[in-house]
Symmetry: C2
Subunit: 253 residues, 2 copies
DNA sequence: TCCTTCGCCTGATCCGGGTCAAGGCAAAAC
DNA sequence: GTTTTGCCTTGACCCGGATCAGGCGAAGGA
């Protein structure tokens, strides 16, 4: 689909596929890095954690990672690439639930129903760390740090779920969306101001509950106001403060 | 505020404040009932679980259970009454995040930030079981059933958080909201078709991202279509199938 | 008793964003 | 090369629900 290298997605340091070559160390950007650090590198517990991981992928654009109804056996941390999760209602209309960046985790909402309640699709070439959930639960029972980490992951996702709620203007939603993406890239060690929108305008619109045309118009306006620079899917945030001000009611802080 | 007894809220069996008089048994309707049953009544582990609970309340209408920014120390299971959670943005506009019925749990979204990210207010006379979270985590590490229960609670809430998302008509939202309330009451052992809307029309509107006037109009229309019977805050669902059909895109199943 | 307040309902008007339609562009397929 | 196919953009129009304004009834206070 896209052949040119998206700016910001693949900066030199750190690599989008983080170094985890040796068996006692995880991806530096990974959502579980905290748990690993908490127990200390080299300890036998970390070894156990590492053993329950399996690298899967690469998936290509449009591939399903899992589908609605699949039995829940594992959660997936994105190593590189991007994923969207979505549900399809009985009229066949798609509803995008979220986009997931390297280091972020999908599948947590499947714990309760024990089946995945949504689809997950790769938006570009994407790889994962697959964590067996039964094994991880068992480990969590032995390692408080792992348990706490899982609680925090779940709780964190609860907080972000309510971000897109609320009746807000198209400008507010879009500005908040762009700032949020930037913050998340930055939190994982990438550029927070220059990155690719790997998802289509339609997916953004669907996620923000807008029409694709509205997304297009708002982005065009933001560009003319020099809030952003945008060419195709290559995005640069020129005035983060300005964007944050527009989206302030949807953003933490 | 309300003096008359709301129909369906206080049916004879079970009582809204469930029987937990003896020290080894929990509220029958409680969200933690499953965990208790899993380990079996009378076991020492259940005794531990029981020890970390504290009954708090009754809170009166409008009382805060916790406020945004309060340090997170415990989660709260509603024993009787009703609560709303909400955030207030910097312009002072309130945003209702959810309503919680007897047996349901609030505070899970505070685990990660370690401070409550929202306010919780009693919508009527309300009592709680307060579970110290540090103690509960420690117990979860010793009792897989408790750990699993917490994971499931968190995951379940993740699923419901995405219910109000999506661009849906006022009719769809309202129908789904009423059906959802009914199902939740039923799941806790109350009448699923006859209960009180303890929250104001304004709160419903805020939660559903509608204007209070729209809520009023839709409810009036539903009544004229004989989908519901409504007098003040006393609600009866007359045609659940009809409501489910209207709200089908927002409801599970 | 009157008056205020609050929650709720209803009508009139207006606007943001959806919908429809058309066209441009670049990558991919032939 | 040409054509096809997505994806994106732009313009014109329209509608659902917000906003504004007014009225009603119950509760509470002076």
């Amino acid at each position: 689909m896209r052949t040119s290298q998206p700016a910001g997605r693949l900066p030199d340091p750190p690599s989008p596929i983080s170094d985890d070559g040796d068996t006692t160390r995880f991806c530096r950007t990974c959502a579980f890095a905290g748990a690993c650090i908490a127990v200390g590198y080299g300890k036998p517990e970390l070894e156990s954690l590492h053993c329950l991981v399996e690298h899967v992928g690469a998936y290509r654009t449009g591939d399903h990672v899992f589908r609605t109804g699949d039995p829940f056996r594992a959660i997936y941390a994105v190593r590189g690439g991007m994923v969207k999760t979505c549900v399809v209602d009985k009229e066949g209309r798609e509803q995008v639930l979220g986009f997931y960046l390297p280091g972020e985790v999908i599948g947590l909402n499947a714990i309760y129903p024990e089946h995945f309640p949504c689809d997950a699709l790769a938006l570009e070439k994407t790889e994962f760390c697959r964590f067996s959930f039964p094994a991880m639960s068992a480990l969590a029972a032995r390692m408080p740090a792992v348990q706490q980490h899982l609680f925090r992951l779940l709780s964190k996702e609860l907080g972000t779920a309510s971000l897109l709620a609320g009746d807000h203007s198209a400008d507010e939603r879009m500005a908040a969306f762009l700032c949020d993406l930037g913050r998340r890239y930055e939190a994982r060690g990438f550029s927070g101001t220059h990155f690719a929108l790997s998802m289509s305008r339609g997916d953004i619109a669907n996620y923000l509950r807008l029409a694709a045309e509205t997304v297009s118009r708002v982005l065009t306006r933001f560009r003319s106001q020099e809030l952003i620079a945008l060419e195709g899917r290559d995005l640069e945030l020129l005035d983060v403060k300005g964007l944050e001000k527009i989206g302030q009611n949807l953003l933490p802080d």
